[in-house]
């Protein structure tokens, strides 16, 4: 009986935590800023645009469940097509993919090889916002 109570408590705690996380409003995190040195880093794949296709594949596997297949955002995950995202430097996007923002639900992808993270940055530049009015 005690075992069942422990398991029930574990499940309830998990659901409450999940619920709390899901209720947070979607607001830009002003503290999530890349250091200047990281932000200034150029994309080493910038002159190999064909590698973007691999980035698309990675995006579909790793990012689309939260950001949507076109990067338009789902729930509290931001729209990656937006001006706010696209105005950021390649180095900033790379830093954000690498470090994540754990308190806002964005995981760190530091376990991906560095070049694959740069492929993701290349692909982010190919996300297009649908024309207004459509």
């Amino acid at each position: 009986m005690r075992k069942k109570i422990k398991i029930a408590i574990a499940i309830v705690m998990s659901v409450v935590a999940l619920w709390g996380a899901a209720q947070r409003p979607r607001q830009p995190d002003l503290h999530w800023q890349a250091p200047a040195q990281a932000a200034a880093q150029p994309n080493p794949l910038a002159n190999q645009p064909q590698t973007e296709v691999g980035g698309r594949k990675l995006f579909r596997r790793l990012c689309s469940s939260c950001h949507g297949p076109a990067g338009a955002g789902i729930g509290q995950a931001p729209n990656l097509q937006s001006f706010d995202t696209q105005v950021q430097t390649d180095g900033t996007l790379f830093w954000k993919i690498t470090n994540g923002n754990l308190d806002r639900g964005m995981p760190s992808f530091a376990n991906l090889p560095g070049l694959e993270r740069w492929q993701l940055v290349l692909h982010l530049r190919h996300l297009e916002e649908p024309a207004k009015g459509h």
């Binding site: 998990s14 999940l18 691999g54 594949k57 596997r61 789902i74 376990n111 090889p113 694959e116």
Partner: protein
Amino acid sequence: MRACFWLAALAALLAAMPAHGQESPYFVTYSHHLEEPGNLEIAAASTIGVPKGNERAYFAPWIELEYGVLGRWTSELYLEGQSTAGQSSIFTGWRWENRVRPLLREHLFNPVLYFEYEDINEADKIQKEIVGHALDFSEPNSEVRREHAREIEGKLILSSQARDWNISENFIVEKNLSHDEGVEFGYALGVSRPLANLASPQRCVFCRENFAAGLELYGGLGSTEQFGFSDTAHYLAPVISWRLADNHSVRFSPAFGLTHGSERMLLRFGYSYEIQGFGRKVASLFRGKP
């Protein structure tokens, strides 16, 4: 026997489901990479023990349910069983573990705090971690299954990403609440990397980017009653993981015993399936909208 049947049935069911994500190739060592928030990973794994001398070989399967509760917190439930040649197949217990990452960003060393409670019996042989002194597996299941062990365990996980390499160090402390064995210690070290660093344009199964390989070294460090390497088990284990498809991956590791107290070999297999956005899907059931 009935519990083992259900474990086997669940494992078979999982094998039939579609499955994601480059799994860490480690079986024993933990890195600082947690489950993505809201994702549920279901894994079926096993340890096959090849003992020295005339002792009987054994098969110890387990099921893992790993859920990313928050970005900093991953929780995991294990259900464990064991079958020894010429003896019985039994359910050996469960454990609940939690990993919390205190630091927000990537650093040179990334700490993770690990807490576990386990309620198993002494017939448990999955050897998910090696602590204390060398274990004696020669006693029959019919006797050791009656001895229950409620244990708490803590780990300090330190992990680094150096270029494309992951280097992880785990320091383990375990206390058996059912028996007075003192506090036991252990360690696990791991190094691994993916076999390719650039994603190819097409979907592929056998390309190098789907593989990660590495090496683990783990073992016991005695207890507060006798600390050190005397009469302890240590293993050196090459590890490899293979992402079969977006959600499916398998792992394999032959662990070679290094000391007199070690088994000759532990063969470990694992299969995992990740359900992305599981938490969001469950939450949408309660909210009544997708």
